[in-house]
Point group: C2
Chain length 249, copies 2
């Protein structure tokens, strides 16, 4: 029986990978992924002598289904295969398409979790989540725009701190602006503390702390993750803090 690991490699550096993720990749014969992430992984693991022995298979954006099918086919031949995802394997990752595409092949699938941008971005911003929170992608490539709006409205009603993945792309320059409008219409105050985590765990990592009224004055790209606080969040010494609720006096 073949083995197919779906591996979350974390935000992008060696240090934020888990031992299990490194071990899965080390023991795999074939590593499959999005072209830019395969390139990144080769660079991150360039000091590991075993990395040059691996077979690689990569496809570009929109090649996800092809990639997963190839990985399943190769694993079905008895090979050990890793499908890699940045962040976590399950959060906007490849665990779902792999399991959807898996038929009756003799393949054991193991999902290996990783640190998702909600957690790695929160870490460099301080403590913006702390309690209950939600994660919403602003990409309408796989989710209809009306579902995105419904999710933003539900998040505002619940007073969740919100983590926005894919806040912008070349084809969607206004995605963040539209989302901010929805939240403001729901009564989220313009003074709500917000943060942008830029290039988490990669070269150029930085943070911006702002508020909802000024969030869209900042340039936001595909490499950024946006955090919108809830009614209890506040800024403190360059950090965002959402209280847990402990008495701290």
């Amino acid at each position: 029986m073949g083995t197919l690991y779906v591996v979350g490699i974390g935000p992008g550096g060696y240090a934020d990978m888990s031992i299990r993720a490194i071990e899965a990749i080390r023991t795999s014969e074939l590593i499959v992924g999005y072209t830019a992430y395969i390139k990144m992984l080769k660079d991150v693991l360039k000091d590991e002598s075993w990395i040059i022995e691996k077979d690689f298979y990569d496809t570009g954006m929109t090649g996800e289904t092809k990639r997963c099918k190839y990985a399943i086919e190769e694993a079905a031949k008895g090979r050990k295969v890793s499908v890699i995802c940045t962040g976590d394997a399950g959060v906007y990752g490849m665990a779902s398409p792999v399991l959807e595409l898996l038929g009756d092949e003799e393949v054991r699938v193991e999902v290996i979790p990783g640190i998702t941008a909600a957690c790695s971005g929160a870490a460099i911003l301080g403590a913006p989540l702390s309690n209950d929170f939600c994660v919403i992608s602003l990409s309408d490539r796989l989710t209809p725009q009306e579902v995105i709006v419904k999710r933003l409205k539900g998040a505002a009603a619940a007073d969740f701190p919100i983590v926005l993945y894919n806040p912008a792309s070349k084809g969607r320059p206004d995605a963040l602006k539209k989302a901010v409008e929805v939240l403001k219409e729901c009564g989220v105050p313009e003074t709500t503390v917000c943060g942008i985590a830029h290039s988490i765990g990669r070269e150029g990592e930085s943070v911006t702390i702002t508020d909802l009224g000024h969030l869209c004055n900042n340039e936001v790209t595909m490499s950024d993750t946006v955090f919108i606080g809830n009614s209890l969040s506040y800024g403190k010494n360059g950090h965002i803090v959402t209280p847990r609720g402990y008495k701290v006096d």
Copy 2:
């Protein structure tokens, strides 16, 4: 200047720790945490020769503020200190109380993210999240019950897959039952696929797949994390799958 790491150690085993988390603990003189987690960490790292050289400081449940204050005090003396949390440092972790309690001490705080139960639990259940999702704790120790209800209602309106942390405790045997009632009142169907991730990453790790109508027939403890699918989630070969939206034909 002292250094205070707030370290997410992941679900509980060595393999799910990040390189950065291990390195922070290795280079710290003092390790601070909840009594049961300090015990767990000592066991997880028992093969590391350096673990016996560390100072430890632990307190029981409700000792969180005392622990964080002590860690800040010791770091302010110029020491390198790690405050450990299971899962992620920011999700129901210690990043928030540490930053709330930090005054003008000469202490550099670095939050080191870890794999939270939403991701590690999702991994053993298959792919229940995949897309947008939310995380809600059912503990009313720090959050008023009416806020928990508001969050559940918002989550249902948004059609989020929901991850429930702290689904039960000795003092709250009916917490999950109450949450399920709220979701059903909001129109979430009884046929919605649900999963329970038991003792993730620890001895006795297992999963239960059920539906919302039968969820409360299962024994649920403090060591469990509960997953409630959204309108698109389904069960397949012992896994929960929430589709990403890719064409998989």
